[in-house]
């Protein structure tokens, strides 16, 4: 049963600036796997991947009905490329929140334009 949905748009240039200016701290936002995936692409495509991952995380938090909260880590959500309706890997506080709601599976899909990344997430429980 679908029990939540979320969508988010992230400006690519804004996310790229965050990543560029705070590279040592981005592990607090993106998992190691996400960083590896994003950095494997060059220039604009790389920026688009980071923006898509960020938008996906926002969309997941909206699907769970929490939005961003200080007790949840961005890196608790691993998006796995977020391109094909893939389930996201939850951990830490976000996983606890999903389990508390009985919403243990969240699926996300993302797309990138020249300026923005958009992501949609759906939360499902039995």
């Amino acid at each position: 049963m679908i029990c939540g949905a979320g969508v988010d748009v992230a400006p690519i240039a804004r996310v790229a600036r965050l990543v560029r200016d705070h590279r040592p701290q981005i592990a607090r936002i993106f998992t190691a796997s996400e960083v590896t995936y994003c950095d494997a692409a060059r220039a604009f495509r790389r920026d688009g991947r980071y923006a898509a991952a960020f938008a996906a995380k926002e969309a997941v938090l909206k699907a769970l009905g929490t939005g961003w909260r200080s007790d949840l880590e961005w890196s608790d959500i691993e998006t796995r490329g977020a391109s094909a309706g893939a389930p996201v890997e939850l951990s830490g506080g976000v996983l606890r929140e999903a389990e508390r709601q009985g919403r243990v599976r969240v699926f996300v899909s993302a797309a990138v334009t020249s300026a923005n990344a958009i992501a949609a997430a759906v939360a499902e429980r039995d």
Partner: protein, 135 residues
């Protein structure tokens, strides 16, 4: 570091993070309500403050969202008397005398995080770090 120096560096961090003009930044300016900061902007601000002042900002020290999920602290979308007490305790480094029971969570989130609160927070963190070194 004097309070004026802290305030100036905080303002510079906000200008860089949010792309706003220096003249937009006054002590009472709220990041969300006045400068329309979003989650990515808050991340940018936190990272810049940590770097510029050599401090570590733990989760929840500047943002009270998880307190606002406690049904004892918020009822019907409004902060309860217990909620006011909990927020004042968490943010004891700044003056929240204007915070009153009955304030909506939305208004709180839009207006609580002001430039003055950030300056108070940084001043408090730097003072705590300095006294730890002296001990």
């Amino acid at each position: 570091m004097t309070r004026d120096e802290i305030a100036d560096r905080v303002a510079q961090a906000l200008v860089q993070a949010l792309g706003v003009s220096r003249s937009d930044i006054r002590p009472e300016t709220s990041l969300a309500g006045d400068l329309e900061a979003e989650s990515i902007d808050f991340l940018d601000v936190v990272f810049r403050l940590e770097k510029d002042f050599g401090i570590e900002i733990a989760r929840g020290e500047l943002f009270p969202q998880e307190l606002l999920r406690d049904p004892n602290l918020v009822a019907g979308g409004k902060v309860t008397a217990a909620g006011v007490a909990a927020i004042r305790e968490r943010f004891g480094f700044t003056d929240l005398s204007g915070l009153a029971a009955g304030l909506s969570v939305e208004d709180l989130m839009n207006n609580m995080l002001t430039v003055r609160l950030i300056v108070d927070y940084v001043e408090h963190k730097l003072r705590a770090a300095a006294s730890a070194v002296e001990r």
